[in-house]
Symmetry: C2
Subunit: 390 residues, 2 copies
């Protein structure tokens, strides 16, 4: 391995939403997860400070450590012990689930594991467009960025960006490595993650998830959407167990509904494939809209709807736009499909009305690329300014 | 048969709503039809006028015929020709579906068929609490009343009311006869009716309807409801064919939904039976509410919802009350379950808000008795006044 040279680069990874199949995926049915083009951006700089810096302005966290102190942590440490030593070193207790602590732990674990015997002075700054704790895969986007940046900096994978390019992707094999390390970070943060979020952050596009198997769909279109965060707090655990209770209470009523959701995912997958192969038509969008409506009704049957989500559906439908909750439901986030011909003025007035309801709302897209390396030219001034201010 | 004596009596029959299974019943699934305690009242008086009078104040129809003229119609007439002769006589064309014409035709057909060779001078006045053309079985309630009154007046069935009683029912065999004649009236009015509406009008209570078989549930509770007519006009034919198209478009998605609706009907039937056997509990009402919500979502999946029905559901849910459309959907009527403990003030404010939305709204019940004979003491002054003013 070549010794690390002075370098600076940027990477980004997308968030994720569940397009179809939330909840029923828990009961063995097919789900479609998809990249959300609200991205997390990371800047990595090599320095000669003899220190490691991490800056996470979203969560107001700015920390640094002496390389020598970290080096001594590694002395005689087996892989299995590293996390335990790190918890002692950072004084983060075993049962902590606090966002800041988890982010720091995942960073230090990945940094020490990847660089191991030759720790380098680096400064890592991360900024995300994604809200945290909203079921949008913000931790996975963070872990994918960390994994890609640290592996590249260490030379375990290439720096795919050539001087002429603004953005570039890694090879399939390199992405598999990025995904594996990101999954480690997810395990540190979440304990027992499904692996869907980091897969979406890595591969982007649409992924089919069924009975533990994750498979990317090849050739899918990018679809414009509104993402709305109702900001109604919810507990995924409580919602998931509520659905389970309902299935046990009315099995003959609920089991066909789970089947129907699975069929919605499959018809959607088929439609997306057709859109990519033959080019999208108005009828394709009609089908996508019908499927969104059907699934939203099914999620209401499962008992994971919420009046705030009904409001989202009503406000958007009044303008001919179709919405469904995404993720756990009971509040949380919803997505609204925009058609290619949907007018900017319609989008603006919809966003305004949703904001007037107290919601956060973004115009963005789904199906965008996964993890990428960028030159500074590829990034907006806004993001560059945030990342380079540390 | 005894010659008819001078008499005056009253009969009434309930309307109907579909509690569960509308639309999916067309595709071979189980439905539950139930009597609606908005009733049609009939007064029959024997007279010596030598005329037959029919008074239908709801549809502003007041007609009379000379017995002798009607008698000549019957001369040498075979059963199969009677309807044709009646159309000529009343100048109602073959393709007429106008409510007044159909009501008159059904009356004259039933009167002439039942009395046959010994036509009697009678005056029949009918008044209904049911709106017409709203899918609430108003024509069946009319036909059941006509059938019961004419058969009783002719002596083909008993007059079950004893002097001490306010209301009385006929025997099972007599009700079967009433139902058969009412079905003839339904055929004249609707061409090809399912027979469910006249069965509900005759038997009352709850009926299970599956693949053409109609079976009354024994021992069911009477449930308080609000009945709301959104007054949004809809075409049953268009809605039914829309559901069919949707099933053909997305069979894998829609077929499980039809199954789930069937299961809703069956769980509901089971719950009603338990309520009658063990006495109703709060948990029984919880289940009935959950089933109403689930079915309403399923009907939305089938594409037969409407924003007016969403409004009904939202307005009632804001007060903890659960609603679903009943019948064809796309507007039309909805039912809202009231719990035994639901406060009068809550009901009143709900009714007021629904009326403010432009809807008609009645506090009534489902599961009430079918056709009955009444003394004048059993009827409200309001109804007596209307019926006896002709």
């Amino acid at each position: 391995r070549a010794p690390m040279q002075t370098l600076e680069f940027f990477v980004s990874a997308p968030g994720k939403v569940i397009l179809h199949g939330e909840h029923s995926v828990v009961h063995g049915q097919v789900a479609l997860a998809v990249s959300l083009n609200l991205r997390t951006f990371l800047q990595l700089q090599s320095t000669s400070s003899g220190e490691v810096h991490i800056n996470l302005p979203n969560i107001d966290t700015f920390l640094s450590w002496e390389i020598t102190a970290l080096q001594s942590l590694l002395a005689g440490c087996k892989d299995a012990d590293l996390l335990k030593r790190l918890r002692e070193f950072t004084r983060i207790s075993e049962d902590s689930t606090d966002t800041r602590s988890m982010a720091v732990l995942a960073f230090l674990y990945m940094y020490l594991s990847v660089f191991a015997e030759s720790l380098a002075s680096i400064t890592v700054s991360v900024w995300s467009e994604l809200p945290t704790g909203a079921g949008l895969g913000s931790s996975a986007a963070y872990n994918v960025c960390l994994s890609a940046a640290l592996l590249s900096a260490r030379g375990n994978i290439s720096n795919p960006l050539t001087p002429q390019q603004e953005s570039a992707r890694w090879s399939k094999e390199e992405m598999e490595l990025i995904n594996r390390w990101a999954f480690m970070g997810e395990k540190i943060i979440h304990g027992n993650p499904s692996g869907v979020d980091n897969a979406v952050g890595t591969w982007g596009g649409f992924l089919r998830y069924h009975a533990g198997n994750i498979s990317p769909l090849s050739w899918v279109p990018v679809l414009r959407i509104l993402l709305t965060n109702t900001k109604v707090p919810r507990s995924t655990k409580v919602l998931v167990s509520g659905v389970k209770d309902k299935i046990n209470k009315f099995p003959s009523v609920l089991k066909p509904v789970l089947e129907s959701v699975s069929a919605v995912s499959c018809v959607c997958e088929q439609t997306l494939t057709e859109m990519a192969e033959r080019g999208p038509s108005a009828e394709h969008y009609n089908i996508l809209e019908e499927l969104i409506d059907i699934n939203q009704h099914h999620l209401n049957v499962m008992g994971v709807g919420h009046s705030s989500l009904d409001t989202l559906c009503r406000v958007t439908l009044a303008r001919g736009l179709h919405s469904k909750l995404t993720g756990a439901g009971g509040g949380g986030c919803g997505i609204t499909l925009l058609r290619p011909e949907t007018d900017t003025s319609v989008i603006q007035s919809t966003v305004e009305e949703l904001k007037a309801c107290g919601f956060d709302c973004w115009e963005t897209s789904i199906g965008a690329p996964g993890v990428q390396q960028h030159s500074s030219a590829a990034l907006s001034q806004h993001i560059l300014k945030i990342l380079s201010s540390y």
